[in-house]
């Protein structure tokens, strides 16, 4: 659809949020405990935090919680009864960053692939994502390397740009339209100057990245043609502590396990986050483990994230350049470090 571009005065945003809050759950960055910014449900527009980089936990937990009940099972004298657990709540994710928009788009694509997963899609269909482009890129981010920021040019419901006194609002979908319709009086059509300003801000933001931190293309070639020595993966794995943080914090990781919780005739089937870095991820009942070596597991992660084979299947790289893995890696095997190692064929100079 033709992008529809509006503006809203910053001081009117609270009224817009108040309108949204009337009909849906609004999740936005808020000041959480210990002074950390976290995505959380808000009750009032004032709770939304604007001046910060990005919350450390990504918003994927609102589409795929770490423990996600999906089926209710009951066994009694009348036999077994099962019913799916549906979450059809209308939600708005407000003030997320372009990398997270791309992350959600990736997850949706994964769960749309045949056979589609109704439980995820129900949440995604009822979620409108209103994002704020990054005039100033965050410190650890490298979204420019994976085409997921600092501004998006497609794939957004509504992308806001900070123009100073106003936000530009690029409406990119019907859902976006719907979120603006209720508060239409607060919005004006954008002027040509304002649109030009947004383009300028994007160009300036891209400049600020300086030296690109993550050259995916050349890494992709080497990973896809299996030209990375197993010995290199082994060496790298000594700098990994198998915590799984990279998987859990990553906006595009979605590996999971399925387990039933409960007892005494009532169970809840839950999907739970899992990590390909855990030795037991591929452990078979027989005790055989095709990825028994730590290096094999590190290799697996980066094949999934960076290979051409997956790129072709998924339509994008499995990385949105948010930089979170750099923050949470217990070792030193975050995405930029490993991509550099793949390209150079060396780790720590060896």
């Amino acid at each position: 659809m033709q992008p529809h571009v509006l503006t809203i005065r910053k001081r009117d945003v609270t009224r817009w949020l108040a309108r949204l809050l009337e009909t849906r759950e609004v999740i936005a960055p808020t000041l959480g405990p210990c002074g950390e910014i976290v995505f959380s449900e808000v009750r009032a527009a004032e709770q939304v935090v604007w001046d910060f980089e990005n919350p450390l936990p990504p918003p994927k937990q609102f589409l795929l919680p770490q423990t996600d009940p999906i089926v209710r099972i009951q066994v009694n004298g009348h036999g077994a009864q099962v019913e799916p657990i549906h979450d059809g709540r209308q939600r708005v994710l407000f003030n997320v960053r372009p990398c997270d928009v791309k992350g959600i788009a990736f997850l949706t694509r994964m769960h749309e692939m045949e056979p589609a997963d109704a439980s995820y899609l129900r949440r995604a269909e009822n979620l409108t994502v209103i994002s704020l482009a990054c005039n100033t890129p965050c410190q650890l981010g490298f979204c420019v390397c994976s085409d997921s920021g600092p501004f998006l040019n497609s794939g957004h419901d509504i992308q806001l740009t900070d123009l100073g006194q106003k936000y530009l609002a690029e409406i990119g979908s019907a859902k976006g339209e719907g979120s603006v319709a209720d508060a239409a009086s607060l919005f004006d059509p954008a002027t040509e100057d304002e649109v030009a300003q947004r383009k300028k801000l994007e160009a300036e933001a891209k400049e600020r990245f300086g030296e690109e931190t993550c050259h995916f293309a050349s890494a992709m070639r080497r990973v896809s043609t299996r030209r990375v020595d197993d010995a290199l993966w082994e060496r790298m794995s000594d700098w990994c502590l198998e915590c799984g943080a990279c998987n859990f914090i990553c906006p595009t990781c979605y590996c999971f396990s399925v387990k039933d919780r409960g007892g005494d005739g009532t169970w809840t089937r839950c999907r739970t986050w899992d990590s390909c870095q855990y030795a037991a991820f591929t452990l078979e009942a027989s005790g055989h483990n095709p990825r028994a070596q730590h290096g094999e597991r590190v290799k697996r992660r980066f094949f999934h994230k960076v290979s051409a084979q997956y790129y072709v299947r998924d339509g994008m790289t499995g990385c949105v350049g948010c930089g979170r893995c750099v923050k949470v890696c217990l070792g030193t095997t975050d995405m930029p470090a490993v991509v550099a190692a793949i390209r150079k064929g060396a780790w720590h100079g060896q």
Binding site: V75, A116, Y254, V258, K259, D260, E284, R300
Partner: protein, 274 residues
Amino acid sequence: MDNDVFLPHIARIDAVRDETPDTKTFTLRFREPEDSKAFRFLPGQFVELSVFGCGEAPFCIASSPTRPETFETTIRRTGTLTDALHQLGAGAEVGIRGPFGNGFDVEGARGKDLLFVAGGIGLPPLRSLIRNVLDERDRFRNVTVLYGARTPVDLVYKDELKEWETDTGVEFHITVDNGLPGWTGNVGMVPVLFTKTTLRPESTLAYVCGPPIMIKFVVQDLFMRGFKEESVISTLERMMQCGIGKCNHCAIGHRYVCRDGPVFNYKQIRELVE
């Protein structure tokens, strides 16, 4: 089946048959007639079976789609879930999701000679195809089944094997690694049976299933005898959870054993690289 892909459908155990001291065949029938109607499977596909209170695990379908009112799965007792399953009798309810996987290419086998080589608990996945073939016998050329187990006690489908022995449409040979008193058949590992039959590599599709070490020797033997990689077919096993290619447990490279498999030919297996 709708896209509540994690929702199990209730099936009742119609019958339980002991195959060996630790293996049983369960005949399952969906409780709801519409589930029965909607459940269309190919030989070689599998289901995710829930034992309520224990969890879920993947098991291959061991019966043929030519007889769709019920389906069978043959399961060895190896852990908590299978232990619990073995305690269940006729009338008990389990959950079924599926069918999953690519199944055997039955169409592609029409008009060809078919060789089935199975070891021990490797026979159940092949049986789904063997029964399908025997139910539509005239659409296939020569059918040869070679089956072996450690001892006579470990043979599965003992009654059915007798049928295959007498069925003129099947060339059937059987062996055991170690005989027992009363055993009059061959003794020796499965490859020993190659000497009992004429193999026609140019026109034959070979289906091999069994313990990894048996598969290794059999497949080596077949290649030495001139079989092409695309003509030798097996099933791969991996830790599986969702069955629909999303949880990523069974991924090999960008292929998923639950979707691109579990049936693969050896050319595909060679190309399956992590």
